[in-house]
Symmetry: C2
Subunit: 132 residues, 2 copies
């Protein structure tokens, strides 16, 4: 039975972040570890949120943007008004992400084309490339 609760050190190992980062995220109300005396204990929920946080960061979202989106993934019994707002926000975010994906695909295609061009250029110069 894995304990469900993890210390800050264990979290750092698991997610490859520093303690400072976790404390910082707590201060910014992105995660809510419980306390045993002074010490923080991170729940499954915290881990799920952290995973989403790190994911969001890789997509270039700010912590504040991420914080708002997180409400989407664990709604308690909030006001319906609040829910609706979150819903709309998530829709906008989805659209942004889809646009980003499309643009990313284009950029990937461009880059690939450029790489092919490069390869011929290099081979003209007699450079042998390592087979990938």
């Amino acid at each position: 039975m894995t304990d469900d609760l993890m210390t800050i050190g264990q979290m750092c190992d698991k997610f490859d972040v520093t303690p400072r980062t976790l404390r910082f995220y707590e201060a910014k109300e992105l995660i809510f570890p419980i306390r045993e005396g002074q010490k923080r204990l991170f729940t499954k929920r915290d881990r799920a949120r952290l995973k989403l946080i790190l994911q969001g960061k890789r997509f270039g979202f700010s912590l504040e943007e991420i914080r708002q989106l997180l409400n989407l993934y664990d709604l308690g019994d909030q006001q319906t008004t609040q829910l609706t707002k979150t819903y709309e926000l998530a829709q906008e975010r989805l659209q942004v992400m889809e646009e980003q994906r499309d643009e990313l695909n284009e950029a990937i295609d461009d880059l690939k084309e450029q790489l092919t061009w490069f390869e011929t250029e290099l081979s003209h110069r007699g450079v042998k490339l390592a087979a990938e």
Copy 2:
């Protein structure tokens, strides 16, 4: 015959950036506007590079990462060694971008699922959503 050369103001209008940003990018050697007296004049090359810069930023790359990638898109007559390094760098970058795209697709799917869940939840509460 559109002039090929643009002033900083025209650039700002075209790309929706501030003069400060363009001067900053020049200082960081991302673009190389020529000078007419004091004034900067931006070439087609600068515009191509700027476009890539802004694109890269949206994908979460740092200016320094972008700067290195830019060499890929306008190679002069550099050393072959340098070319090969650029090539390898670009391949790594391509891989990162593809991973990012895949991860993005997953995140999009997750988010969509969450949104569907949300819709049923909201409709249970008798909320009418605007048709998109």
